[in-house]
């Protein structure tokens, strides 16, 4: 079964770089994600939206990747926000006590409106 793989799709909407993640984010691929976010922020992206709507689950390694990127974005005066945190994924954020650790919008549309 190959639905374990994490898929990352980057697109652009106005000034925002949208990173849509799907599949499972765990310790086998979280470092790839850290590298990816690091590259985006280092390259000067000032507005990054991570869409978690198609993520099946994420583990603490994934939360670490998101926290590391949030910190790096802050240091670079970039906005790093999440959207579409629902179902199992929302429960995992809740369990980790991490719902307040990020800026989270309900949907991609809502996030893009807020990011302007």
């Amino acid at each position: 079964m190959n639905n374990s793989a994490l898929t990352v799709a980057e697109s652009r909407s106005g000034n925002t770089c949208v990173v849509a993640l799907s599949g499972r984010i765990d310790s086998t691929n979280a470092n790839d994600l850290i590298t990816r976010f690091n590259r985006l922020i280092s390259s000067g992206e000032k507005s990054i939206l991570v869409d978690l709507g198609s993520v099946l689950y994420l583990t603490s390694a994934a939360f670490r990747a998101l926290l590391v990127a949030t910190d790096q974005a802050e240091r670079n005066e970039a906005r790093f926000v999440l959207c579409s945190v629902a179902g199992h994924v929302h429960e995992l954020f809740e369990m980790g006590g991490l719902l307040d650790a990020f800026t989270i919008h309900g949907s991609r549309e809502e996030a893009l409106t807020k990011l302007g």
Binding site: S4, D26, R64, G97
Partner: protein, 147 residues
Amino acid sequence: MPSPQQKSVHLSLRNDVAELTLVTGALNRIGEEIDIPAKALIQLQVALDEVLSNIVKYAWPPTEAHVFQVQISVRAGGMEVVILDDGVPFDPRMQSPPKPVAPDVRPRPGGVGIHMVKQLVDSFEYTRINGRNQVILTKQYSKQQWP
């Protein structure tokens, strides 16, 4: 003949984080065969990722190649995973919980994982036996559970 509701899989894994995909794959297959509710399966997989990645990272010096054992058993509405490694003695339950943080301070990732494992599974046991660490995780499920 084992009934279709019973299943047991044994995996020998190298201390390389990439090997954890074998556990994910095995659980996915078992989950499909036995029709385990997605929520229970996901919760066990998230818990296992934390426990197994800690073994890979900390049980042995990173330059040494080692193998550890994972036994997954499913029967009568419950999953049990037994993990055996011959690394340094380490009780994964003893990791300190995440420190409470002020509302304007972002939590640090450290400790979040084990805190989550305790909520995700029904039991989380550790024993040091015959020079090996043994961790047993169990997760119950019922067919009536939200899918």
